[in-house]
């Protein structure tokens, strides 16, 4: 393969690579709160806060992009704390509904904010995000979650997820841990929002609607939430699948249209049906299957 065709290949798929990273980071933000048993659906709102904050800073201050990103990471976390104090007293579906409510409040706030052109949003945001930045952010998020796992805090989170009253009896300060994870997830989402805004040249409220959170949740569930890297696997699979199908249908000579959407859905359904613990459980399942076959062979 010539160097030139390799370069074309990279140029063709660089946006898919970028979106895999961004969606991976968003999936991790949902996973972060899920890891202590909380279903927070406010991630799109945190993403919006990060995106708008960074875009406004880009337009109205001469700050370097790194400072800008730091602000977009911190601000959602600062918002998450006062939100979390009352909201995290709720459980299960009530928490989900309360956080959906917060998400809508933030979206409608930006719809009515004339300073950022309301529903039209901010356009012509300069492209400052490079793909390495996205993957540096993703690696940092994975590193944090990897370090938490197996640490004292990690065991505490697992205990809260499995049985919160029991964990509290053991002297674990459940509220503090849950709040910390909500803030951590918010900062992941804010960072992803800022990176996306400076990659797609625009920020608009419709990007941060409820369907966006559902997408994030689907990445996490399809990838599997039993391991910390599962959501990234799910985001990779679901972001790459439409483009892989596009390539296949172009080669087979299929007219573009609803069929691709249908196959996309069918593949998704098969994964959910046959891998209920997510794609990240696939190697474990294959190993178990191979072992059982070997044993059957030996016997």
């Amino acid at each position: 393969m010539s160097l030139e065709s390799l370069q074309d290949l990279w140029l063709t798929y660089q946006s898919t690579v970028a979106f895999i990273g961004l969606n991976g980071l968003l999936a991790l933000s949902v996973y972060t709160t899920l890891s202590c048993g909380q279903l927070s659906l406010a991630q799109a709102a945190f993403m919006a806060i990060g995106a708008y904050a960074s875009a406004i800073l880009t337009f109205h201050s001469g700050l370097p992009f790194a400072v800008n990103l730091a602000a977009a990471t911190l601000l959602p976390a600062l918002v998450a704390v006062p939100l979390g104090l009352p909201v995290l007293r709720l459980k299960g579906v009530f928490l989900a509904i309360a956080t959906i409510g917060f998400g809508e409040v933030v979206r409608i706030f930006f719809v009515n904010l004339d300073y950022t052109n309301g529903a039209l949003g901010l356009t012509a945001v300069p492209q400052r995000t490079s793909i390495w930045m996205i993957y540096a952010a993703l690696s940092a998020a994975l590193f944090v979650l990897w370090r938490i796992r197996g640490s004292r805090a990690g065991y505490a989170l697992e205990a809260i997820r499995e049985d919160e009253p029991a964990a509290r009896t053991m002297g674990i300060h459940a509220a503090r841990y849950k709040l910390a994870m909500l803030a951590l997830g918010a900062s992941f989402a804010g960072l992803a929002g800022a990176l996306e805004a400076h990659y797609t040249y625009m920020v608009s409220p419709s990007t941060y609607s409820f369907t966006r959170v559902v997408d994030m949740l689907v990445y996490a569930v399809v990838g599997g939430t039993s391991v910390f890297y599962g959501p990234v696997v799910g985001a990779t699979f679901l972001t790459a699948l439409p483009e892989i199908l596009r390539e296949i249908s172009a080669r087979v000579g299929l007219a573009p249209g609803p069929l691709r959407l249908f196959v996309n859905g069918a593949v998704l359904l098969l994964v959910i049906l046959f891998l209920p613990e997510g794609i990240s459980s696939l190697p474990r399942r294959v190993r178990a299957w191979l072992r059982s076959r070997r044993e059957a062979h030996a016997a």
Partner: protein
């Protein structure tokens, strides 16, 4: 698992690495339309338009030996996929020009890539007044903006009805309907028509009785509505159910046969500004309509604009001395002047926006008719 991923990746790389054949006399045109997702109704018409135009241009022999080849892709009404399609067109299919994408929001995210890669883009349905041709000098818009259509439509309606004041109802959480409202307000103010009331709704709303009752209480002579087609039908029928027979003019969102399909008899008399005069007796327009009918398609404005997009690119190639490179086409656009198209005589403004006559249509017996 990692081994399998690697072998999968290797196969994918091997598949993609096959060389793309390109004959010297073939010029590739990429078309990125929303064939699935929210804007699929528009995408289907646009697809029919470009396919017919490519065939017609190739058959006409206007380009002397150059054959246009269409590469059609679906952006699924998503920014993410719109960007992916543009990168594919630019780097993999190596198209000479791109038509699309369907929505202005997708264009805001995808067109800058074409500008960077010095590939001409021809938006055929983006009507946002700001932020499209501002992207750069490779973006040449065929579609008229709302700012071009609404003021002239308003003038025609005023001459016809002679209203003294007006009210506006619009969706304030959608970029398209908000953009339309901004233009409506500015046009009414420019025409010196007092606005007695402004009411808003959200995209997901289905009940507009509260807003309509408030507007009706102010008793305006004329109502302008900026809404997507789904809400447009509901607004029109609920207004008539209230027994309110005010003349209604819609924005570009009303420009779809779905309005009559959903609102039924309530849609009678509703006016819409349009970039395409369906009733024009111009032979190019008549041939276009006949061609679409022969293909089993009932064309709308989006179809005519997409068709015109291809004609404009073909003319740019001819103007550049039968050369179909990216720079040639870009240079050729500047020389396109009074080109006969289904939309009328077409030229570009210095702002690289399209320029041709707009028209007003009115719903009569369940069909759009041109208001003369």
């Amino acid at each position: 698992m990692f081994a399998s991923v690697r072998s999968l990746a290797a196969t994918a790389v091997a598949l993609l690495a096959l060389p793309t054949l390109s004959a010297a006399e073939t010029v590739k045109i990429g078309a990125a339309f929303s064939l699935t997702g929210n804007a699929a109704a528009y995408g289907a018409q646009q697809k029919a338009g470009v396919q017919a135009a490519i065939d017609d241009v190739n058959k006409s022999g206007k380009l002397k030996g150059i054959t246009l080849e269409l590469v059609l892709e679906d952006d699924a009404t998503s920014k993410e996929q719109g960007i992916a399609v543009f990168q594919r067109f630019i780097n993999r299919d190596k198209v000479s020009a791109i038509i699309g994408p369907t929505l202005s929001t997708t264009a805001t995210a995808a067109d800058p890539l074409a500008q960077q890669a010095r590939t001409p883009v021809v938006p055929v349905s983006n009507t946002a007044p700001k932020g499209i041709t501002d992207i750069g000098d490779y973006v040449w818009r065929v579609s008229l903006t709302e700012a071009q259509v609404i003021p002239s439509a308003l003038k025609v309606a005023q001459a016809k009805i002679g209203f003294k004041n007006a009210a506006i109802l619009y969706g304030n959480d959608d970029a398209f309907t908000k953009g339309g409202f901004d233009v409506m307000k500015a046009s009414l103010e420019a025409a010196g028509i007092p606005i007695v009331d402004i009411q808003t709704f959200a995209t997901k709303d289905r009940d507009f009785n509260a807003q309509l009752t408030a507007l009706k209480a102010k008793n305006p002579d004329f109502l302008m509505v900026s809404a997507l087609v789904e809400q447009a039908a509901a607004i029109v029928s609920q207004a008539r159910q209230l027994g309110w027979n005010v003349p209604i003019m819609g924005g570009n969102g009303f420009n779809s046969p779905k309005l009559m399909a959903n609102a039924g008899p309530a849609a009678e008399g509703v006016m819409v500004g349009t970039a395409w005069n369906k009733a024009s007796a111009d032979p190019v327009n008549q041939a276009f309509i006949a061609g679409q009918k022969a293909r089993g398609n009932d064309p709308d404005q989006f179809c005519a604009q997409a068709y015109t997009g291809v004609l404009v690119i073909a003319d740019a190639i001819a103007q550049a001395g039968m050369k179909g490179g990216r720079e040639d086409i870009k240079a050729g656009f500047a020389k396109v002047k009074d080109l006969p198209t289904p939309l009328g005589k077409f030229s570009f403004l210095p702002s690289r926006d399209g320029n041709h006559a707009a028209a007003v249509q009115v719903v009569k017996n369940g069909k759009f008719e041109i208001l003369q």
